[in-house]
């Protein structure tokens, strides 16, 4: 028994399937001039900014985007239930219009446009290509998925190796395969193999069915091929392809919930290095990062769009463990080709991108003075009024500087004793793991903040991939978060600490949120405006906001301004 793996809505219940079948046998009729007019009006209002008047994918914002908006003229579509090279069905296009494409600037329109408007705009999009003049395309018939099991996932891992998926996606799926630095799409724009540990960036969706469909029919226009012929040639069975999809699905830690308070659990002794097994046990907090689009040179194509933070303390020292996907330990000669392609593709709003690799970089900042309460420094490296106590790491040469920052690029080394702070960075399988450890009480308490237990301490992060042109202030940034060091459990307070933790953490969160709002961070960090409890799609809204900001001049921060006056107007 075979069935079409279509879109979720179609498999909901029998009644709906019956309805779809009735509709399907009604012959298609030609669009009236009125329909085309309606589709054109919708398109010109909502779509031209990215996709361009003629559907060439060359709207005003397109040059700042990577991946670029779809060029409709060639009718090459990634997300299809049809064979490689075939046109998408109307339902395939509708799925993308409705749901958007995670990991890109394409947001979903289901809640913003009426279904009539969406139908009309789909018809209009198709009118950009003569390929749609022929017979309508047919979806591929796929058998149903086998039940998920541990053995099945192990089998999927084996087939992943046998099909050599790792050549592009890497041994651990982080998009760091040997072919990764050389990839371009059909329009000769650089393209990264999908990082399979970050399913919220999967263009076609993150369910097992979505992954299966991507492998089975390929993502046309990209290097991702269809594996249908491999089944036809009986090299693998369809069930084994489902196993690969289930295995890929299992690589992800689940859709991360963004929490604004990072909890540093108390332990007997903090680990010494980032590969210590104690870190695996520690709770991981996902922090989304977005491109730095405020200070020149701004950056619209960030390489690192999220990090995992773990924290532990032992009453003496605080240790932070930061992990993020990065396909290269920069600089890496194998990635020279990549940066050269990027330099000819990425339109930098504030000057040409040099095809020169720098080191990978990571910055952690705290307020220099915690006595200011929850009034935090300007989130981009602080300012003169409220400087940021900063740990600045680079991969090559591997070093961590401690200092005070009064704005992006305004860093002065030496905030108390640098020897207070120890670090170790390890790169493996497309991932950096960085551990930074400091005593809770610094040697010079006048120069560096003390990390006290039981209070929420503001913390923020920045990252840069040296093989992707992220030098100078180019890179990605987080909003302010807070870190909360668990207080020791004393005999006299038995139950209360838990409650206290929750209350304090909740209070910290509230204060962080309010302070963030007061400072206007939220106005241009749309990431922070997402629902903070469910916000893995934040970067999508950032992409959309960035597209609007791209052709406006950058704020010049030659002289660091106060946090209030530094805030540019929010995008219209």
């Amino acid at each position: 028994m075979s069935r079409v793996v279509g879109w979720k809505e179609g498999t909901m219940e029998t009644g709906l399937i019956a309805l779809v079948m009735v509709l399907a046998i009604i012959p298609s009729f030609h669009l009236s001039a009125q329909d085309i007019e309606r589709g054109k009006a919708v398109y010109e209002k909502w779509c031209t900014g990215c996709h361009g008047d003629t559907g060439a994918g060359d709207g005003d914002a397109a040059a700042y985007m990577l991946p670029r908006p779809r060029d409709f003229r060639r009718a090459v579509y990634q997300i299809r239930t049809t064979a490689s090279g075939e046109l998408p069905t109307d339902d395939d296009i509708r799925h993308v219009v409705d749901q958007g494409m995670p990991g890109t600037a394409m947001t979903g329109w289901k809640s913003r446009l009426t279904s009539g408007d969406r139908d009309a705009v789909i018809a209009y999009i198709k009118s950009f290509s003569r390929f749609f003049d022929g017979a309508p395309p047919q979806s591929v018939d796929f058998p149903s998925a086998p039940r998920i099991s541990d053995d099945g996932i192990a089998e999927g891992a084996r087939i992943y190796g046998e099909l050599e998926c790792f050549k592009c996606h890497g041994d651990r799926g982080r998009g760091d395969g040997t072919s990764a630095p050389t990839m371009s799409d059909d329009w000769d724009f650089p393209i990264r193999p999908t990082d399979l540990t970050r399913p919220w960036t999967f263009n076609g969706g993150a369910e097992v069915e979505d992954i299966y469909r991507a492998i089975r029919t390929g993502l046309d226009g990209t290097p991702m091929p269809s594996f249908s012929d491999v089944i036809d040639a009986e090299i693998i069975t369809d069930e084994q392809l489902w196993r690969v999809a289930q295995y890929v699905h299992s690589l992800a830690p689940g859709r991360p919930r963004v929490r604004e308070v990072i909890r540093a659990g108390r332990t007997a002794r903090v680990p010494d290095d980032p590969t210590d097994s104690a870190w695996v046990e520690a709770e991981a907090f996902y922090v989304p990062l977005v491109g730095q689009i405020i200070v020149s040179p701004r950056w619209f194509t960030p390489a690192v769009d999220g990090i995992w933070v773990r924290a532990l303390h032992d009453g003496e020292r605080l240790a932070l463990h930061i992990a993020w996907s990065d396909p290269s330990a920069s600089p890496d000669p194998l990635w020279q080709e990549w940066i050269e392609l990027l330099a000819t593709t990425v339109t930098d709003a504030d000057g040409a991108l040099e095809p020169v690799q720098g080191p990978d970089r990571f910055t952690i900042q705290f307020p220099a003075r915690l006595s200011d309460g929850m009034a935090r420094p300007y989130f981009l490296g602080g300012d003169r009024r409220r400087p940021a106590y900063t740990w600045r790491w680079r991969s090559s040469p591997d070093q961590l500087e401690v200092g005070t920052s009064t704005g992006l690029g305004q860093f002065v080394a030496g905030a108390g004793a640098a020897s207070d702070v120890a670090h170790q960075a390890v790169f493996a399988d497309g991932q950096w793991q960085l551990q930074v450890t400091r005593t809770l009480i610094p040697r010079d308490t006048s120069a560096a903040p003390t990390f006290a237990e039981g209070v929420a301490i503001p913390i923020a992060f920045r990252a840069a991939d040296g093989s992707s042109g992220e030098t100078h202030v180019r890179g990605s940034v987080s909003a302010w978060y807070a870190i909360y060091l668990d207080a020791p459990i004393s005999a006299t307070v038995f139950v209360m600490p838990v409650v206290a933790t929750l209350v304090t953490a909740g209070f910290g969160l509230l204060v962080v949120w309010r302070a963030q709002r007061r400072e206007g961070t939220r106005r241009f960090l749309p990431e922070a405006t997402c629902d903070i409890f469910s916000s893995s799609r934040c970067s999508d809204s950032w992409h959309a906001a960035a597209a609007k900001l791209a052709h406006r001049p950058a704020t010049r921060m030659l002289v660091p301004l106060s946090s209030r006056s530094a805030a540019p107007r929010s995008p219209a």
Partner: protein, 204 residues
């Protein structure tokens, strides 16, 4: 098909990621962009562009074939008729993907993770359709898709033959991936053979 002067040097390929392919090249793998032997140029696609009687012409059932061997395409340049089976073989024990990127017809992108053969067809004439492998960024081939059988590719010794042309006067076009196009007129008489020489070179 001649080449005057000194041909440009072909770039070496860094194939270290595929030792099984590297092993097939005694002197190290080279990208055969311009292949000249004794002043004769290979891998030129030649076809009749004007003067033919109106078609349609019978479509051969015999497939046109391309092989992936040693992480390079063999042949690098070939012709196929619209509708003619186009057979793609992987003779390497490793993953290639074959992506065709035409602009006049629909492309495809298929995976061949080990020795296997896949057949496709093209629906619209186009000279040339690029083929590429994204696993191995250096792999490139070119397919001339025509709606008639009067085409050929110059061999290693620069020779080519277009046979079975009815008597008439024809325009013949030669295409090379980096050296560009050449055009010539040729008059064919019933039962005769006409020699045509295209001249490429570093000085022309």
């Amino acid at each position: 098909m001649t080449f005057d002067g000194t041909p440009p040097a072909n770039p070496a390929i860094d194939m270290t990621e595929e030792p099984e392919c590297v092993a097939k090249y005694a002197d190290g793998p080279v990208d055969p962009v311009v292949v000249v032997n004794d002043g004769m140029l290979a891998n030129v696609f030649i076809r009749v562009t004007a003067g033919l009687p109106a078609g349609p012409y019978p479509i051969p059932s015999q497939p046109a074939t391309i092989d992936q061997n040693g992480c390079l395409y063999t042949p690098r340049v070939l012709g196929v008729m619209v509708g003619q089976p186009f057979e793609i073989t992987n003779s390497d024990p490793l993953l290639h993907n074959i992506k065709a990127v035409p602009s006049e017809s629909r492309g495809f992108n298929i995976s061949q993770p080990r020795a296997m053969t896949t057949t496709r067809t093209f629906k619209t004439p186009e000279v040339m359709v690029p083929l590429e492998c994204n696993v191995h960024g250096w792999m490139n081939a070119y397919v001339g898709v025509t709606d008639h059988p009067y085409f050929a590719t110059s061999a290693e010794d620069g020779s080519f033959a277009i046979t079975g042309l009815p008597a008439g006067t024809y325009t013949i076009e030669a295409w090379h991936e980096t050296l560009g196009k050449r055009m010539m007129e040729a008059e064919v008489v019933e039962g005769g053979t006409v020699s045509v020489t295209f001249v490429y070179g570093s000085t022309t």
